[in-house]
């Protein structure tokens, strides 16, 4: 009886189900943005979402190439000075004009947001902004800074009028969330939804969707279900396990694009004895990775095509360097190392490891797409080549603490790890310097160099590249340093991730390599 009533209610509810208006776009996000303050948390979920409301002086296209944003043009006017011409007739959402003062204010605010867990100081550091006139600014630096435009392209510009004295809470409430972007902030309900509406006075191309609704749905299967049920029009970060099935679904359309995220293996280059590499009988032994032939054997023993085909279900691209094709400063000579089991065995023999050795591979579980499964495949491949590899998968929070500073004196703890990296600047120095330049706290190089690789030649050429304003010369230097590092097997590239957005039939997304999900790039056929 009561069941019947419940059913009747459920059936009645169906009658009230409304078809979603074609002008509203609902997007299911995989991670929840932590705030509506564009300078609070420098992390992809926030940076991606807030790009709808706020804009940068320099925008980036889907391959992270630089495009004019709030600045129409920029050029070097002295060795250490850049001049930016700001766009005229740009209005803030409240109607007040955008001027150089807003830019100067932004550069003061960005690195100084209270309680910020991850600040924008990196993009602002060492830069002094001066006003030439209302629509011209100059940015001067202490040293030559050829990647200055890439840094500038990470900072979202806020209104001085609304931002002065504003706290992160004021952005969350919408009071200070006044941007110049194609969408205006409407509502932020933490954990639940974010709503934007079209800015009809936008200076650029008029956005197609009148309203945007973003829903954070962290659980992968639930996100897919929300799309299939029609509760959202598009989802990001489609679980790889569902991709094959969704491909066959006539109601769904997938958009895929290679990302700038490299999945790679790092070996311990520094210590003479490394804790997780042991002789066959378990006795302590010298660090085998100090021998370049062992590193070469490891990279040859890995069948990247098999990992891509089996573990990643085809949704990845084998990697031979730090960034995929089309990026600034990469080498056109480097290709993914071919699988060569016999060659690997031979190299191990030459290095005196005819009987192999014991090794533990540490990997985060749940940080990158299929990370633990990839590590499992790698461990099996190495074991087949004679390096008896066991696997330890850790919670990301545990993994990164130990992999970065778990050893004595806050040194990296592990001997052999699987990690991922994406270039924040969208060009090769953003990978080369943090990954394979010598770890140096004062210079800020080698930040993510968890293998503590150190090669003076790579350091020197990288440093020279960062002193070179000439694009062609700089690209050549970056490529050369990359070739030296990869040839020396500083790290072992596995593959580049491919990101998949899934949308209802008729919608397509211009897949972005920086993993941003932008409603302005969603088009309807």
């Amino acid at each position: 009886m009561v069941f019947l009533r419940a059913l009747a209610i459920a059936a009645g509810m169906v009658l009230f189900a409304t078809a979603s208006s074609s002008q509203e776009l609902k997007i299911g996000l995989s991670a929840e943005p932590s705030a509506m303050d564009p300078h609070y948390h420098n992390l992809t979920p926030n940076n991606s979402l807030l790009s709808h409301v706020f804009e940068r002086l320099i925008a980036t296209d889907e391959k992270q190439r630089l495009l004019p944003g709030l600045a129409e043009s920029w050029k070097v006017v002295g060795d250490t000075v850049w001049e930016f011409k700001l766009r005229q007739n740009v209005k803030w959402h409240d109607g007040s004009p955008f001027t150089a003062d807003d830019v100067i204010f932004t550069f003061q605010r960005a690195p100084n947001v209270p309680n910020s867990p991850s600040s924008f100081a990196g993009g602002v550091k060492g830069k002094t902004v001066t006003k030439v006139d209302d629509h011209t600014i100059r940015i001067s630096t202490e040293a030559v800074a050829p990647t200055l435009p890439n840094d500038v392209a990470t900072i979202m510009i806020v209104s001085k009028k609304h931002g002065e004295g504003a706290k992160t809470e004021d952005y969350n409430s919408g009071k200070a969330a006044i941007g110049t972007g194609p969408y205006k902030f409407t509502k932020f309900t933490p954990g639940d939804r974010i709503e934007f509406e079209r800015n009809d006075a936008y200076w650029g191309a008029k956005p197609k969707w009148t309203k945007l609704l973003f829903k954070p749905i962290p659980a992968g299967p639930a996100r897919v279900a929300a799309l299939l049920a029609g509760d959202v029009d598009m989802i990001e970060d489609t679980p790889t396990a569902d991709i094959e099935r969704l491909k066959k679904d006539p109601k769904v359309q997938l958009s895929q694009g290679i990302s700038n995220r490299l999945i790679y293996l790092f070996v311990d280059h520094a210590r003479d004895v490394t804790p997780f590499a042991k002789a066959k009988d378990g006795a302590e032994t010298k660090n085998p990775f100090k021998d370049k032939r062992v590193r070469q054997a490891v990279t040859k023993a890995i069948n990247r095509d098999a990992i891509v085909a089996r573990v990643m279900e085809g949704v990845a691209v084998p990697a031979g360097q730090f960034l995929p094709d089309g990026y600034f400063g990469i080498s056109d000579k480097l290709k993914p190392v071919a699988f060569d089991a016999a060659g690997a065995k031979k190299l191990l023999e030459e290095a005196g490891y005819a009987n192999g050795f014991k090794l533990t591979l540490h990997t985060p579980n749940g940080r990158y797409i299929n990370d633990a499964k990839i590590a499992e495949a790698v461990a099996q491949m190495l074991t087949r080549a004679g390096i008896e590899t066991s696997l330890e998968a850790l919670q990301p929070s545990v993994f990164f603490t130990r992999a970065s500073q778990g050893g004595p004196n806050n040194t990296p703890e592990f001997s052999f790890i699987l990690v991922g990296w994406s270039s924040g600047t969208g060009e090769n120095s953003g990978s080369l310097v943090p990954l394979v330049n010598t770890f140096d706290r004062a210079k800020g190089t080698g930040t993510a160099n968890r293998g503590r690789y150190s090669n003076p030649e790579v350091d020197q050429i990288s440093a020279e590249a960062l002193r070179t304003n000439d694009d062609t010369k700089r690209a050549a230097l970056l490529a050369k340093a990359t070739e030296i590092a990869i040839e020396d097997v500083a790290l072992i590239p596995l593959h580049y991730q491919v990101n998949t957005w899934a949308a209802r039939k008729g919608l397509s997304y211009k897949a972005r390599s920086d993993e941003f999900t932008l409603a302005t790039d969603v088009t309807e056929k």
Binding site: M13, S116, G122, P190, G191, P221, L228, F399
Partner: protein, 325 residues
């Protein structure tokens, strides 16, 4: 009674204290949240600055002393992720969870009691056997699986109900809830049912057992002998007596509904405290984890206390003041 309440209060303080120590140090042992918070591109000095800003560079006992000092003044610390006071972050999400728990409780009562009563009154009937078998299924199926199946069937295949999130809210009598709008109810139905399933089964079993036991009692026989109608016996005499244990258990279960809505909230992306807790655990947002658990402990204590006190009101044989346990 006053002495009893005072003693309970002291016990509560000790429980909260011990719990906060365990959680605080436990989370510290798991790992360092900084590596999940910072942008990987940040250089070493900026990372160290972030560590200092969060106070994580201090020894753990010092952080704990600092935390206790704040907690005594009602400040449970700021969320590492959201930068707002942990209490604010949790309270923001509390209405959604309460709404879900109340809806599940209502479902448990409205569905569980009639079915249980039916099974108790007509134990040999085929329908009773189906009800009891169903309650076993309700007990044994894992919540996350049932949740996904509900989504698959009602949202994806039939398209009757939304699969995810909370619907629009409305405010009446100072309470903002999505249960006040028709659209909101559609969003509420599946997650509430998922959360209620276990409780429905529980209520069915309790009601059935109570009914079968009471039917044998003298007062029922006497009522029959007096010539009362069957309906009146069931409604007035039987139901009243079997409701006492049911109410007690449901009172205690209400705390469970709030505290353990984690799975349901995660699957249905329900913006409540449970989903917040899971996120906080994944990112080691210690202030939120600690504050969340303190609130839950207090909640349980208050509910237990209310149930205890109500018991003395409902049942004159019970005197809480003289309890020795």
């Amino acid at each position: 009674m006053t002495a009893y309440l005072l003693r309970r209060l002291m016990q509560t303080a000790v429980v909260v204290m011990v719990m906060s120590v365990i959680v605080f140090f436990g989370v510290h042992v798991i790992g360092d949240p900084v590596w999940l918070l910072v942008n990987p591109q940040m250089d070493q000095r900026d990372i160290e600055a972030a560590v200092r800003a969060l106070g994580l560079d201090r020894p753990i006992w010092e952080q704990y002393v600092y935390f206790v000092r704040g907690a005594l003044q009602g400040d449970l610390g700021r969320s590492f992720i959201f930068g707002e006071p942990a209490l604010t972050v949790i309270v923001q999400r509390m209405p959604a969870t309460l709404e879900l728990a109340v809806a599940a409780l209502v479902m448990a009562i409205v569905i569980g009691i009639p079915l249980g009563l039916y099974a108790g009154l007509k134990p040999q009937h085929a329908l009773s056997k189906i009800i009891m078998a169903g309650s076993i299924v309700g007990f044994s199926l894992p919540t996350f699986w049932v949740g996904l199946m509900l989504i698959m069937v009602f949202a994806v295949m039939l398209g009757w109900l939304p699969s995810t999130g909370r619907g629009p809210t409305a405010t009446y009598f100072g309470i903002t809830s999505s249960a006040f709008t028709l659209e909101g109810l559609r969003y509420l139905f599946l997650p509430a049912l998922n959360l209620a399933l276990l409780k429905i089964s529980l209520v069915i079993r309790l009601t059935r057992a109570g009914a079968r036991e009471s039917l044998q009692q003298d007062y029922i026989k006497f009522a029959r002998a007096k010539g009362l109608t069957h309906g009146r016996i069931v409604r007035v005499h039987l139901l009243k007596n079997i409701l006492i244990p049911v109410v007690t258990v449901l009172g205690l279960e209400f705390g469970n509904l709030i505290a353990f809505s984690v799975v349901t909230e995660t699957i249905f992306a329900w913006p409540g405290m449970g989903k917040l807790l899971i996120g906080a655990i994944q990112t080691l947002d210690r202030p939120v984890i600690v504050a969340h658990l303190i609130i839950i402990v207090l909640l349980f204590v208050v509910i237990n206390l209310v149930v205890d006190v109500l018991y003395t009101v409902l049942d004159p044989r019970v005197r809480v003041g003289r309890q020795t346990a």
